[in-house]
Every structure is written in structure tokens, then in C-alpha cells.
């Protein structure tokens, strides 16, 4: 167990020290989320009715949850590359914890996610977003975001080990994440959707997490969404962490 913790931290460190050296990654974590916030706020914002909220207040929790689900792409792409370049073989030949390579990757995602969240909140505040509830509630919202992003990293870790190339990671990942985030309450009120989509959106975990965040940040009615969001996050970890570790053990034939 001690081995798992130290090895996980070593791998997380490995994945973070590269960040300042890779400007393109840095742009992905910083400029890209800012761009999306501005595009949505100023291009779509005027056309979308969000009763009870200004669009920027409505939008920020949604886009920040979507962004949190993207943090895990670093894990999916990184694992895929490690596998192809033989680095996973190196790790598997070492007397290190079997779960640490994945644990370290997903942990590093939490750090980059925290960076993106900070940048998004600052951007949001600049263009008019305001927290309506107290400080602790705002912090609890950030905690929920980090947990949900972490959970989603395990799903993407599994995906990264499953498919054969980084291109496949991108295309499969986007095909899964875009419908999930768009057919939810992230960008438009669910009530405005046609019947079939609406049914899906209402049970979509993204809706639940976004609504939980709106509760914590804006005081929106909760409907137990916070607990449901926590439960979803833990359930995603519970399902995909073992799947990913099992896949990692078998990766390249072991």
C-alpha cells in the first residue's frame, strides 16, 4: 500500500514536470477553455433563454464540467503513447505497484484540471459570473469538479489502453464526450429539448453534476443532485478503475 502511494506520486510528478516544457499542452489547458467560454457567452449567449439566470451564470458551471471531463485526455493519450513506445514494458518490468502508472496519470490530471478550473473561474468572473452562495459552498463545488474530473480520467485511461492509436483516442473520446455533454443541462435548459433528448438529458450524469454545481455556486434547487453527483463520480471510479488496471496488466500481452 505504501508502495502504491509513493509510486503513484512518482508517476504523477513525471507527468507534471513535462508541462512547462510543452507549450502546446499548456495552451490546451489554458487558452482553449477561455476560448470556449468566450465563444459560448458571446456567440450563443444572446440566443439562449435561461430563465432565472444570466447566460454567463448559467453557462460557467456547464462549460467547467465539460472541461473537467476533458482533463483525462492527457491520461488517455499519454498511456496510449507509453504503450506504443515500450515505456509500459519498462514500468511493468519494475518492482513497482501495478496500479501506480494509472493512479499517477489520473492524479496528474487532477492538478491540470485544477489549473483549468482556476483559469475558467477567473475568465468567468471577468465577463460577469458571480458566486451566489457562500465561500465554502463555492469550494465544495470545486471539490466536486475535481472529483468528477478524476472519475472521468479513469474512464479515459481505460479508453486509452483499449484503442490502438492516439488518433483513435481522440475520435472515440470526442464521439462519446460531445453528445454526453451537449445533451445535458450544460449549455441549454433541458426543458427546451425535444422529448427523446430531454429524457436522456434528465438522467445524464453530466446534467446531474452540472445541476449540483449550479446548486453549490448559484443556489439553484438541488433535488439531491449533489449527493447524486458524488455517487456518480464514485461509481465511475468503481467501474473504470478496476477495468483500466486489468487492461493495463494485460496490455501488451501480460
Amino acid at each position: 500500500m505504501r508502495r502504491l502511494v509513493t509510486d503513484t506520486l512518482i508517476i504523477a510528478e513525471r507527468n507534471l514536470i513535462r508541462l512547462p516544457r510543452a507549450p502546446e499542452l499548456f495552451i490546451g489547458y489554458t487558452l482553449q477553455p477561455i476560448m470556449f467560454v468566450l465563444l459560448f457567452r458571446y456567440v450563443f449567449g444572446g440566443a439562449i433563454r435561461t430563465p432565472g439566470y444570466s447566460y454567463v451564470d448559467f453557462l460557467l458551471p456547464g462549460i467547467i464540467v465539460q472541461n473537467a471531463s476533458f482533463a483525462g485526455f492527457a491520461t488517455a493519450l499519454g498511456l496510449n503513447e507509453d504503450m506504443r513506445k515500450g515505456l509500459i514494458d519498462r514500468f511493468r518490468s519494475l518492482p513497482m505497484s501495478r496500479a501506480a502508472v494509472l493512479g499517477g496519470r489520473t492524479l496528474a490530471d487532477v492538478a491540470t484540471n485544477a489549473l483549468s478550473i482556476t483559469i475558467l473561474i477567473v475568465t468567468g468572473v471577468i465577463i460577469g459570473f458571480g458566486f451566489q452562495v457562500g465561500f465554502l459552498s463555492a469550494v465544495a463545488g470545486v471539490g466536486l469538479l475535481l472529483l468528477f474530473g478524476y472519475a472521468f480520467s479513469w474512464f479515459l485511461a481505460f479508453l486509452g489502453l483499449l484503442v490502438s492509436s492516439p488518433e483513435a483516442v481522440n475520435s472515440v473520446g470526442f464521439v462519446i464526450i460531445f453528445p454526453l455533454t451537449f445533451i445535458s443541462s450544460a449549455f441549454v435548459p433541458v426543458a427546451s429539448m425535444p422529448a427523446g433528448l430531454k429524457d436522456f438529458a434528465e438522467v445524464n450524469p453530466f446534467t446531474i453534476v452540472v445541476d449540483a454545481l449550479r446548486h453549490l455556486w448559484l443556489g439553484a434547487p438541488a433535488h439531491n443532485n449533489v449527493w447524486a453527483a458524488l455517487a456518480w463520480s464514485l461509481a465511475i471510479v468503481a467501474v473504470f478503475a478496476p477495468l483500466a488496471v486489468a487492461r493495463y496488466r494485460r496490455a501488451a500481452g501480460g
Binding site: R3, D7, I10, E13, R14, G86, D89, L94, P95, A252
Partner: protein, 328 residues
């Protein structure tokens, strides 16, 4: 469990990937402190065997023990005692040379400070100190291989697996890497070296196992393998315009097998070295055959390989690591 005399003992090892039988009952032994060269063409099963021994792959049948540890049941203990350097130079491109080695050291369980000290020692030994602070994506192929080998040595493992360590390197990097490997083995490390280069096996390996289609088809020292071919190789290059068949006829009774004829070159293996040249020249001159050049040499491993497998060692070079690709 650790009392065995031999560093590596493999019995009846079988590994299949779907329909493909990568290892078809391999038996192999390497004594402690020895370099065992595993020689074979691409796809012969060399990489698969290394991956089984390095605990990366589970065999379907048979047993494999390294330092007395079973590769399946004692994998965790075994991993503390082995180092793996592969043909893919498995280092993190985004980390510096120094960071790579420190990371590996810490994953072996060393503290940050002792991992740092060991990294420095290795970087110095492998002539990478000047490049230690640069991301390894800026390294040349030879530098990456040296770093990869250094990473395998971080924990001073008594057994080293070197999977085609010089494939794709230029001759200078190759011979510098050979020097490093020779130093290591002089220090008592046991090494399993896979290669498709016969000169590499010839120079580095104490014993050689020739592997083809997942089976060991011959085993012995380089000299023993060459002796199997029987005698010396006599090669005669004929003057242009000479009838080679006359030469073949003149020389035929010097050998047990009929001489081979290739591009104006008559080749035969002779029973006795002493006097063979004089005898050949006398016979050819009696038959009025003009000789341009004539040589007598020991058989090379190339000859051995060709005789054993019916094909040359480096003929199918397209597929880099079939074991890895099939398994992925």
C-alpha cells in the same frame, strides 16, 4: 528457491498468440555470469521469450526460472533483480536523461537522493553527463539506447535482458554499446542478449542458442556451432572465361559434399586445413583452370545460420517486433 546453479532455466516454454505459435517448446539454460546470445530472424520468437522471462508475458505452457525465481509465481521478487533494455529505447521523451534515471531508481524503491546519486554515476559512465539536463527527445539514437541501457542498470540487477540492443544503430554507436555490455559482463552480470546480427552474437555471447519458428534449433559456443559445419571453407574465384564446372570437378574429391557454385565463386568445405590451399592450387593448375583469388577461412555464424535454417539471418527485416505487435 534461490539455490539454482543456473541464472536462467527454461523448459518446454510455449506461447501462442491466437493461431500463431510464437514459442513452440523452448528449452534453454544460461549459467551465472554468462552472456547467452539468442540468435534468430525477425519473428523467430526472441522478443516473446525475453518478454516471458522479464515477467511481461505469461507463457501458455512450460516453466521459466530466473535466478531460481519462477517468472509467473515469483514475479514480484524477480522484478527486483532484473533489468530490461529493449529495441524501442523505452525512455520518456519529455523528461531529461537525468530525470528518467531518477524516476526509474525511485520506482525500484530508492530514495530521491540515492536515486539521484546513482543516476549521476550512470550518466557519467555512459558518457551522457553533458546531455543529462536535456529532454531525451533531443538525443540521438545511440544516446537513447545508452540511456535505455542505463535505466536497465539502475538497480544493479544481476540479470540483464537485452532485446536487440543495437538494432538500427550506426556502426560507431553499435561498437560503443558493445564495449559497455562487455564491461558489464566482466563485472559478473548474467545477460540474455537477443540479436539478429551474427557478428554481435559472435563478439558478445559465451553461448549461442539459434532460434527459429519458436524453437531452439542449435545451441553451443560460437566455435562449437562453427565446428558443426565441419572443416574450413575454401573459396575459389575463377578467372573470367574459365569453365566453372571443370574447377568443380577438379576440387570435388577434397570435400564430403559437392562444391557450391555462386557467381563465379566455387565454395566447398574441406576436411583438413593443412595443405588444403596447396592441394587446391595443384589440382586447379593440373586442370588448367585460371584462378583469380583463393581463400581458406573458418565458417562464420552466417554459414551456420544458413545451414541450420535454410535462410539468411537478416533477410526479412520489415517487421520490427512481431511478439510485441501480436500481443498488443
Amino acid at each position: 528457491m534461490n539455490g539454482g546453479e543456473d541464472a536462467i532455466e527454461v523448459h518446454g516454454l510455449v506461447k501462442r498468440f491466437g493461431e500463431v505459435v510464437a514459442l513452440d517448446g523452448v528449452d534453454l539454460v544460461a549459467a551465472r555470469g554468462q552472456v547467452l546470445g539468442l540468435l534468430g530472424p525477425n519473428g523467430a520468437g526472441k522478443t516473446t521469450l525475453v518478454r516471458v522471462l522479464a515477467t511481461l508475458l505469461r507463457p501458455d505452457a512450460g516453466t521459466a526460472r530466473v535466478l531460481g525465481f519462477d517468472v509467473q509465481h515469483d514475479a514480484a521478487a524477480l522484478r527486483e533483480r532484473i533489468g530490461l533494455a529493449g529495441q524501442y529505447a523505452a525512455v520518456d521523451e519529455n523528461l531529461t536523461g537525468s530525470e528518467n534515471l531518477i524516476m526509474v531508481g525511485r520506482l525500484y524503491g530508492a530514495s530521491r537522493s540515492s536515486a539521484t546519486a546513482r543516476a549521476r554515476e550512470l550518466l557519467e559512465r555512459f558518457d551522457l553527463l553533458d546531455a543529462a539536463g536535456r529532454p531525451t527527445k533531443t538525443y540521438s539514437g545511440g544516446m537513447r539506447r545508452r540511456l535505455d541501457l542505463a535505466a536497465a542498470l539502475v538497480a544493479k540487477p544481476p540479470v540483464l535482458f537485452l532485446d536487440e540492443p543495437t538494432t538500427g544503430l550506426d556502426p560507431r554507436s553499435r561498437s560503443s554499446l558493445w564495449g559497455v555490455i562487455e564491461d558489464l559482463v566482466a563485472g559478473g552480470t548474467t545477460a540474455l542478449l537477443t540479436t539478429q546480427y551474427l557478428d554481435e552474437a559472435d563478439r558478445l555471447a559465451d553461448t549461442i542458442a539459434v532460434i527459429d519458428h519458436g524453437r531452439v534449433i542449435a545451441e553451443g559456443t560460437s566455435d562449437e556451432l562453427k565446428d558443426r559445419l565441419g572443416g574450413e571453407r575454401l573459396e575459389v574465384r575463377l578467372d573470367a572465361g574459365t569453365d566453372p564446372l571443370v574447377a568443380v570437378q577438379a576440387l570435388a574429391s577434397m570435400s564430403d559434399e559437392p562444391p557450391a557454385l555462386e557467381d563465379g565463386l566455387v565454395k566447398l568445405s574441406v576436411r583438413e586445413r593443412s595443405g588444403a590451399i596447396v592441394e587446391a592450387v595443384r589440382r586447379l593448375s593440373d586442370a588448367n583452370v585460371g584462378v583469380d583469388d583463393l581463400s581458406l577461412r573458418r565458417p562464420t555464424l552466417d554459414d551456420v545460420f544458413l545451414a541450420l535454417t535454410g535462410h539468411a539471418a537478416e533477410e526479412d527485416g520489415a517487421d520490427g517486433a512481431p511478439g510485441r505487435e501480436r500481443a498488443a
